[in-house]
């Protein structure tokens, strides 16, 4: 097991290098730092001095890959590539284009992101599994058919409508909770209630329809027929046999996104003004803050790869037949 994890981590390194090179290419080769400076300074009346000053201020005044002017190791290290890209590997994200410490921002904003992402995930799982089980239990009846149709209808509604509609209906018309905002501590509850409800609602359609196929697949297997043949009550078959086995693909599907929960939800956080990493990312994209976007690309990739490794480990835990070699 340990050797397997070490090998998986070793596999992750070339992928991270690839991602790093790709972002470097996108951000520095496709457009030179001069272009970025001009973009930030505004297009009109950009003097070469102003461009030069912007580059010095933000540390983009060095050569891309190889610095002729330096001596020794610094020929390689005193470059944009080393300063901006290689440093990401030790999670040194540097400063954003408006001078804030990105690592500090990330550590501050992780908690609000989790405060909304974890309830959405857990409540969503509970709701989706319940619906999926009901549909599987009444398979072939009108209840099942109308359930599936309802799922397709719910799936066809853009998540933007869920958010705008929910905000309008529950917060503005019925005044049940604040429209947006966030407060740390216990007060967070009233602010989080609405985004969690909307987050869960927008996932019901695709989630429960997807889980329904897991339940049906499991229900068609031989051991279920055996269980029924020996006269087991239908509820026992459902809860003790089908549910437990259908949970295997569900759990592994959840584990892969666990680390990504830190990244928060782009839409929910930005609509509800929750100071998490999702709204941080959106703000960075809108302000064209390339340093933050670069950092988030790298962070997201690392978290995704961790998720993949966790999935493999969780397979061995939930399904004893799987052995990692």
């Amino acid at each position: 097991m340990f050797a397997y994890i070490v090998r998986r981590i070793a596999y992750a390194i070339p992928i991270l290098i690839g991602v790093n090179l790709l972002t470097f290419y996108l951000f520095f080769v496709v457009n030179s730092p001069d272009d970025m400076a001009r973009m930030h300074l505004g297009m009109k009346r950009v003097t070469p001095e102003a461009v030069e000053k912007w580059k010095v201020d933000h540390g983009y005044d060095k050569p891309l890959l190889f610095n002729e002017a330096s001596v020794g190791v610094e020929k390689v290290t005193d470059t944009i590539f080393f300063e901006k890209s290689v440093r990401l590997f030790i999670f040194d994200f540097g400063h954003s284009d408006d001078g804030r410490d990105i690592s500090f921002d990330i550590s501050q904003r992780m908690m609000p992101s989790l405060a909304i992402a974890i309830p959405v995930l857990l409540v969503g799982l509970l709701v989706n599994i319940t619906f999926a089980m009901m549909m599987a239990f009444f398979k072939g009846t009108y209840l099942d058919v109308s359930g599936v149709i309802l799922c397709v209808v719910l799936m066809s509604i853009s998540s933007m409508f869920y958010i705008i509609g929910g905000q309008f209906l529950l917060a503005k018309l019925l005044r049940l909770m604040p429209i947006s905002g966030f407060e740390p501590g216990v007060d967070a509850f009233k602010f989080l209630l609405l985004p969690v409800i909307i987050g869960v609602a927008s996932g019901i359609g695709s989630g429960s329809r997807w889980y329904r196929t897991f339940f049906l697949e499991e229900a068609g297997k031989d051991y279920i027929r055996t269980a029924r043949a020996k006269g087991l009550a239908e509820s026992l078959v459902l809860f003790r046999h089908i549910l437990r086995n259908a949970l295997v693909p569900i759990v592994t599907g959840v584990v892969v996104i666990l680390p990504l929960l830190f990244m928060g939800s782009l839409l929910l956080e930005s609509f509800f003004a929750i100071p998490g990493l999702g709204s941080y990312t959106i703000d960075a994209i809108r302000n064209q803050d390339f340093a933050i976007v670069r950092a988030m690309v790298f962070l997201g990739t690392v978290l995704y790869i961790i998720g993949l490794i966790l999935v493999d480990i969780s397979y061995t835990i939930v399904d004893p037949r799987v052995r990692l070699a």
Binding site: G18, N31, M160, Q288
Partner: protein, 469 residues
Amino acid sequence: MIKPVFLTTDVLLFLLFAVVVVFIFYARSKPHIREPWQRVFSGRIASASAVVLLAFVLTSLLDSMHFRLPLENNAVSDEVHYSGEVLSVLDLMMGPLRTQVEKTYSAPFATQLFSKETVQLPGGGEVRTNPPLLYGGRHLQESGEGRGQDILARSLRALLQSLLASVLVFLLLAALLARRDGCSIRRKMGDILAGKTALPWRVILLSISMLLLFVFLSTNLAVAYHVLGTDKVGQDVFYLTIKSIRTGLIIGSLTTLVMLPFAIMMGILAGYMRGWIDDIVQYTYTTLNSIPGVLLIAAAILMLQVFMANNPEYFETTVERADIRLLFLCIILGITSWTGLCRLLRGEALKLREAEYIQAAVSFGVSHGKVITRHILPNVMHVVLITVVLDFSGLVLAEAVLSYVGVGVDSTMNSWGNMINGARLEMAREPVVWWSLLAAFIFMFTLVLAANLFSDAVRDAFDPRGRER
């Protein structure tokens, strides 16, 4: 003379349409391709959604024939100058809707502006009132009719027209089918009405009648009123939503078209050749797949923005600039959604290369290229097809989210994402301006729902695993 404008996405969209048409003619003579498609269209829901989808496709094709009108000739030279405004055939068809621009917001079917303004009375003095609209319901002032009465009369006329047109379509269809099957028209009509045909023509006719009703309602009502209100700068919201259809369809279809060649080639090569090719392909898609999609798209689009801001000379009109951005968005969306299909195809090819008929072909000395094109490719096409139709609706939905994030289509382009984005602020107004959101919701929901229902039918018909259930 008008000057045709060939936008890149127009050309690609028509190319895609041509490929589909050619494929239909090709497939007519191949029973093994016809059979699953017949199964798709034998479903009532699938046929109805196919009709709806076809209506959307036709609209966007009409909207993809662009041209520029010449400006008024000045006497000094004979040279013709063209207007900077790029129009489409659809714009011509919807003529008054495009040009009848009000001052600002007005509610659906309103005859007055939504907000109060201070108006100078002719006899001196001022009054705060909702001034009448320039175009919406103008004919009422002249004839003095009531608004409700007028709307009712126009709706009834539309109903009558659509009934007539539907009957016409019905007769035409019955005649065509009767000629094909060599029976009397009267019997065929009975069969269709009783729902006894192989394809569910009754349902198809019903959905066509609904569409006709919609068309006639809009031709009767939309010329006289702003049926879905006007937006902040007074443009007709109904016109804007119709124009947005093209954007949604292009994102949904071109994205897959762009990625298909890569995904198919790399996936099959990796699975069939194995070895170092497999390693490279796997490494490429794992790397691309590891980057969260939105962030990769954001990074690429940000860079495109910088490039466009620094090189404005490449683009003749704003429409062309918006078009290149749309195409680029398709490409970058394609890159992020390419990996899933590639992995599926690799697995499929891995399985197939061990199949006996392929082993036989190889041992007969058939070259690798021939084996791939003759034996493997036709046998993975169902995977490709299922992926393409399943991805469509997700891509249409993604456009809205990306536009909100600020990395979607150009802000000058009509799209549902931009409409929703604008409506977000309108919902916070007091009183609420709800019609833009409603319009975008109705059209987007219809398209996505139809696509979802249709793709489910396609998956059920083509997926060999699904057939057994």
